[in-house]
């Protein structure tokens, strides 16, 4: 098949009512979920996953991508209007968004958030289209040792950047790797941690673990301290964004989009750091830097473009290498697997039309986001007013139906509840869930590539250092560890300094 045939096939895949409706519906659900404080995008994508089992692969994946993209923008609505970020990625938007609302410019702030998100989303999608294919063709040269080194490198970044506690992140990742070993051994077919339970022979189901880990802990936390508190939603007013304001911020938006795309393409970094970096760069370069934090529209543009610039780019390592960049792409990898597709370089070779159809769908999602986002901003008051005492029981019921639907198994529902309990304990002990889940997804790949390498070399570890590519990944892993330790020590020193200052103040008193 030549490129033109692939593009024509891809167009036929995406230009169907099913695909278009799934994408639009996905964006709508994502925006609503992102806009509801207490429902994270991750939870929304996880709960949406079981509904895609019945759909065609392209339709199901477009639906999930719609939820993802819509959710990232949706999170900015409560961040601006009620000073509560719907997603961690929207935290930077509060800095100038809420002061703008206080200054009576809510409509302007929301307008800028929407325009900046859509523009940066297009930049991010273009980066995906330009680089994913190139990276995949490069990855075609990878064998098991190269993939093993790459996964070790990815896990190092993910575990290290997951939180301010390096060792906690690393433990969460090792726990995820351990959970991934449950089931029959990949090579010899012997039992591992099955404990006589035949339901565990196939291992712990990824989707069940995912729903349990990201939805149930929220429910448990709410059940422990239930409250139907509602924030005061500010009115949008008549003050709308003008074209000259958009034009003035265009450079900032593009910069934020590029920052988001670069950071998004590196596994583990995510949207929140991209938003803050974009914001600080905008403040450094702006003529109105003194106004940042007091209601500067450029600040909203920078934060929103930074977080939205990530969403397309996180799919670069996913599609090209089969490595999920964050938790949401780890869920999307699950959607690929359900439909018998394995993301990675071979996907570009065997299912190129599907990959290009996804690219087309992503471009379309930016347009949907613009229209659905404009609508959601207007009806936000109704969305934010859904009481948690109705919302969270609904999430619980959705979890039970979704968890059961994976394998038609009640055992999976039990595993989901158990994972929910584990997720809640992890939250209480400051152990991040993201490294756990990504390690759980990558665990079988890591072990499989390691053992294949050992089989190839007859048990010699030399094969893990066999060429330039493996050496590059090992060097990057070591550099990452050095960087993480340095950051950790610097952070400790800074905290110690803070304590000393606080003690000095106490003594002075």
């Amino acid at each position: 098949m030549n490129t033109l045939d692939i593009l024509v096939n891809a167009f036929h895949l995406v230009a169907t009512w099913n695909s278009i409706l799934a994408l639009g519906f996905g964006v709508l659900i994502g925006v609503i979920a992102g806009a509801i404080p207490g429902i994270s995008v991750t939870m929304a994508v996880a709960l949406a996953l079981p509904f895609t089992f019945v759909l065609e692969p392209i339709v199901g994946i477009l639906f999930l991508l719609g939820v993802y993209k819509g959710g990232i923008f949706g999170g900015s609505i409560p961040a601006i209007l009620i000073k509560t970020p719907g997603t961690p990625a929207s935290s930077a938007t509060i800095l100038d968004g809420y002061p703008m609302v206080k200054n009576g410019q809510a409509g302007k702030a929301m307008g800028m958030a929407l325009y900046a998100s859509c523009t940066a989303d297009i930049i991010s999608n273009l980066s995906l289209i330009l680089f994913a294919g190139w990276l995949a063709s490069f990855a075609m040269e990878f064998g098991p040792p190269e993939f093993f080194a790459l996964i070790v490198f990815s896990l190092t970044i993910i575990a290290g950047i997951a939180g301010d506690k390096l060792l906690h992140g690393l433990f969460a990742a090792t726990l995820g790797l351990l959970m991934a070993t449950v089931g029959l051994d990949l090579v010899y077919g012997t039992d591992r941690f099955i404990m006589g339970n035949t339901d565990l022979m196939g291992g712990l189901n990824f989707i069940v673990v995912l729903i349990g880990l990201f939805a149930i802990p929220e429910i448990i936390a709410y059940a422990r301290r239930p409250s139907d508190e509602r924030a005061m939603v500010q009115s949008l007013g008549d003050d709308k964004l003008t074209f000259s304001e958009y034009k003035r911020c265009f450079r900032t938006i593009c910069r934020g989009g590029v920052i988001g795309a670069i950071l998004g393409s590196i596994p583990g970094i995510g949207a929140a750091p991209a938003a803050f970096l974009s914001y600080s760069e905008a403040r450094r370069k702006s003529k109105n830097r003194d106004n940042f934090g007091k209601g500067e529209i450029e600040g909203v543009a920078a934060a929103e473009s930074g977080n939205s610039g990530v969403s397309g780019a996180t799919l670069i390592p996913l599609l090209a290498l089969g490595i999920p960049g964050d938790v949401i792409t780890a869920i999307i990898i699950g959607a690929f697997m359900i439909h018998g597709l394995q993301p990675g370089p071979l996907l570009f070779q065997n299912n190129a039309d599907l990959v290009y159809a996804l690219f087309m769908g992503l471009i379309l999602s930016s347009i949907f986001m613009f229209f659905i986002g404009s609508f959601a901003v207007k009806v936000f008051k109704n969305i934010a007013n859904i009481p948690k005492s109705i919302l969270l029981p609904s999430v619980l019921v959705l979890c039970v139906f979704g968890g059961y639907a994976v394998n038609n198994s009640l055992f999976d529902v039990m595993v989901m509840f158990a994972m929910g309990g584990l997720g809640y304990v992890m939250t209480r002990l400051d152990l991040p869930s993201a490294p756990f889940l990504i390690a759980f997804v990558l665990g079988p790949l890591l072990e499989d590539n390691f053992r294949q390498s050992m089989l190839m070399s007859g048990g010699s570890a030399d094969i893990l250092f066999r060429g330039v590519i493996t050496w590059c990944f090992w060097a990057l892993t070591i550099l990452t560890i050095i960087f993480l330790i340095r950051t950790y020590l610097k952070d400790k020193k800074y905290k110690k300094q803070l304590k000393m200052n606080a003690l000095d103040v106490e003594v002075a008193k």
């Binding site: 139906f401 400051d430 053992r451």
Partner: protein
């Protein structure tokens, strides 16, 4: 009594890793006797993970020991005295509720057990003011999910003869 949270985490990880390496791996992983190289054995990978956990646990304990004298302002503490025991009672009650929900599914089917669970969660556990909405949503949501999963997706949602749905 007040326990420093990270010290507790360090202890738990260390104990768990030792249990893993010396009890769970030898007892719950079957390794064939004919494995030529240890690196290919089914126990090799979990053992590596176990020792990594041990190193991390010890790392956390050492880091806590080195910082023991400094009064850490940012450190969170688990203080069992300053938390109202009522929230733990609620936690326990919710655990019982989840177990009961799970056990009820094979008895009366997933739809009806979900209706009951929704209403109990919303009205009695959350104490909602919107009781009518809770009852309406409590019935409509499981029924809508049943229609989607059973009739559209072809998932065999557990039924019993008690109020069998079409």
């Amino acid at each position: 009594m007040s326990i420093k949270r990270d010290t507790l985490v360090g202890f738990l990880i260390t104990i768990f890793s030792l249990l893993l390496v010396f009890y769970f791996i030898p007892n719950y992983i079957d390794s064939p006797t004919f494995v030529r190289k240890i690196v290919l054995s089914p126990v090799f990978w979990p053992t590596i993970i176990g020792w990594l956990m041990f190193i991390i646990g010890i790392g956390i304990l050492i880091s806590q020991y080195l910082n023991r004298k400094s009064k850490d302002l940012t450190e969170k503490k688990v203080s069992y005295d300053d938390k109202p025991s009522k929230t733990y009672d609620r936690l326990l009650m919710f655990a019982v509720f989840m177990i009961a929900y799970y056990l009820l599914i094979p008895v009366i089917g997933m739809v009806w057990s979900s209706c009951i669970a929704f209403i109990i969660f919303s009205i009695f556990i959350s104490g909602t003011e919107h009781r009518k909405t809770a009852v309406i949503v409590g019935f409509l949501l499981p029924l809508a999910l049943y229609v989607f999963f059973y009739h559209v997706a072809g998932v065999h949602i557990p039924h019993t003869d008690l109020m069998r749905l079409p």
